[in-house]
Structures are given as structure tokens and as C-alpha cells.
Amino acid sequence: MAESPISTHDPKNDSQGPVQPSPQQQKQMEQNYAQMKRKMAMQEIGRKIKHKIMVLSGKGGVGKSTVSTGLALSLAQQGHKVGILDIDITGPNIPKMMGLDNHRLHVEEGRIHPAKGHLGVKVISMAFLLDDADTPVVWRGPIKLGAIQQFIGDVEWGDLDYLIIDFPPGTSDEPLTVSQSLPNIDGMVIVTTPQAVALLDSRKSITFAESLKVPVIGVIENMSGYTLNGVTTANSPVEIAGPGGKTVKSTSDENGNFSVVLDIFKQGGGKSTAEDFGVPFLGALPFDPGFVRGGDDGVHKIVSDPEGASSIAFTKIVEAVQEQISDKAPSTLEII
């Protein structure tokens, strides 16, 4: 009879007792256990956070982090409990924008406690773990993946109404890892500027979202137009030489005040991209140098000027986001 290829273990013949795992096997088991615990923690976090919103852009420099902090602060102003997860591992800058420069994270019983910024918004970022702001993080994919999973699974977020997840530009590992690790993500907000290059990359982001099976909540057009205010003679016509040789006309009011919007880049590109792809357009944010100053000073424009045009624009965008992720939205459709 041929010998069975399956070995059997008979405890009666076992003179040496149970086999001890090798140190390597022990380490592997410990790693597997830690991974399993983290996965369970991620599932639990997924349940405790009501809404999870990813903020992406195809191109860098379109104001994605500004939009992320703006959304978070605007939601916090409405009284919601909000957190921001800064997944931009190699270029984290949310802490600076939230006035949390040089903040250190508090770790208790193996759980990381997020920092608290303006309006009580909780923040987790790689920036908190860097000894020096000038030190670059040079990590390959698998290490980044581990760090992201740690940022999700090992952080004590508590109960949150919204978690805003800010990503580095492009369509790389980070959104893929987050979408596979964090359950029930509401969707992606895609930030763009009206310039053709940014719009082209935004289209990639929309396709990317579909590949990940993450709904696109909508497109936000940032740096949409610069509002120029001035004073001249009352009730008189005003002509401003705008970009691209375009003349912008207006008329001053009875006090001589006038206001014109200059399209620094182009106009309406975000809206037409959204329409092309059949995804919602959430709104346009004005080109506001106050965002730059606020970001550098660590006081976002929404905090320093809550009644200003930019804050109002953010409020409208937040309303559009909430409308999209509302549980009521698809109820009109009967599926049998």
C-alpha cells in the first residue's frame, strides 16, 4: 500500500510533548494576531463614525487640504463631531492649517489619541510623528500601507459624525488602501481648479473612484474666481482689465462701492467635468488669498471670518455634500 502523503499526529506516541513554535513562527503568529486585532478595530471604527468622506484630486496644488479643512470646520460649525485623517504621508500639512504645528500625539494603552484643532476637530497626521518638519518621509508602498492601516485601526477617534480623509494628489496606493480598510465609505469629493490640466486629472479621479467602487459625492471647483472690491464715483460704470485680455464690467452702487469677479484660470470647468461624467457638481469656491494666509497662520478663513464669502461658499458646499450622502436620497427608487 502506498504511504499516505498526509502525516497524522498521534498524541499517544508523542514522547516530546507539544511542539514549540520557532521564534520566527512565534513572530509571525504575533504579527497575524496584531493584524487581526487591527482589522477588527477598523470594523469597529467604521461603525462608530457615521460618515466617511474621501477628498481627492488628480493634480497637486488645487487646494485639496484647504478644502478638507474647510469641509471639516464647516461641518463642525453646524455642531457635528468631526475628524480629519491626513493620509498625505509624504507631505502632511493639515496640522499647520489647523494650528497644530509641533503638536505631539498622546498614546494610551496602545491607542493613539488624535490632536484637537479649531472647533474641536480631531486631527491625525504623519506630521505629528516627524521630529523635524524638514525631514522627508521616504517610504515604499508596503510601509505606507502599514502606516495607513495603523492610522485607521489604532486611533481612538471616539464617536464621530464625519471623518474627512485628505489624500495626496493622484490615484495611487493611499485611496486604494483606505477604501479596502475602512468599511462603508460614503464617497469621494474631487477637488479641481478650472484649468485644463487639473480637469484632465480630475477625470482620472472620477474613473478611479469607479474602479474602487467608491461613489463620487461630487466635484468641487476651487480657485474659481477672484472677487475684486473697490470704491469709485457713485453709480458709475467700472471696467477692469481681467486675465486673458478680457474686460470685466460692473457698475458702482450709490456709495461708490463695486465688486467684480475675475476668472484667474477659466470658468465652469469643474461643472462641465461633473456633467460630462454624470456626477454631482457640489459648488465653486472663490480664489481667496485669505486661505493662503490663514493656512500659513494656522487659522482657517472659516474660523477667522465665519460670515465671509468663502465661509458662505463652504456652507453651501457642505449642504450639497450632505444632500448627496443623505440616507433619504435613493428612497424614491423602488427595487423589487
Binding site: 490615484t171 461624467f277 454624470g278 448627496q324 435613493p330 427608487l333
Partner: protein
């Protein structure tokens, strides 16, 4: 003038097709094979760029046993269909479903270009 798309108000999953009702009371059918062949995901869409691979995709979806899929709303702009076998990745915007209901090419003859990878 741009076409105004009515709102999809009812989907009935039948043995081999969907029966759709829109808010203008018009009714349409889309076979499961047609819908699956028009999957917009990044795996299936490039296969429709060439006639030969498109036919392969078609015979592949036709080889699956027909059954009623699960239908999940995606945000308030699309639907995702979960099948027991084959691809369930596609997020079908209502515009795409409307095109399929009207027997139109939902890609409008455009080649799919991998933008994401």
C-alpha cells in the same frame, strides 16, 4: 437641445431582464446580458474598445447562468448590481441606464482610456 432624462422610479428584476419605470410613466426593459456587457468598470470597459474583445466579453456574460442580481443604490446618482458570478464592480450612472433602456451606446462610441492606473 439636450435631452431631459426622466427619473427612474421602479426597477423590477425579472428572470432575464430588468423592467424599468420612469416618472413620465414610460416603461423599458434591459436584458441582464446587455447590462453586464455594458459594465463601466476599469476591467470590462477596455474590452469594448475592440470588436474582437467586445465579442469575447459578450459571450462571457452570456455564458453566466441568468439570475436576479442584488441592486444597490450608489449615492443618489447610480446603481451597482451584484451578481453571483462574473464582474460586479461597475457603478452604473442613471444616465447610462437611460441610454441602455433606449438601446443607445452608453459610451457614445468613445474608446475607454485607462486613466486610473
Amino acid at each position: 437641445m439636450a435631452e431631459i432624462m426622466p427619473t427612474l422610479i421602479r426597477i423590477e428584476r425579472r428572470q432575464s431582464d430588468f423592467h424599468l419605470t420612469y416618472d413620465n410613466q414610460q416603461e423599458y426593459t434591459i436584458t441582464y446580458h446587455d447590462l453586464r456587457h455594458a459594465c463601466p468598470c476599469a476591467n470590462c470597459a477596455p474590452l469594448r474598445n475592440e470588436d474582437e474583445t467586445s465579442l469575447t466579453l459578450r459571450s462571457q456574460v452570456e455564458s453566466y447562468k441568468e439570475h436576479k442580481p442584488s441592486v444597490n443604490p450608489v449615492g443618489n446618482y447610480a446603481l451597482n448590481f451584484i451578481w453571483q458570478n462574473g464582474c460586479s464592480n461597475g457603478i452604473f450612472r442613471f444616465e447610462r441606464i437611460w441610454d441602455l433602456a433606449n438601446r443607445r451606446d452608453p459610451d457614445n462610441g468613445k474608446q475607454y482610456v485607462h486613466g486610473a492606473w
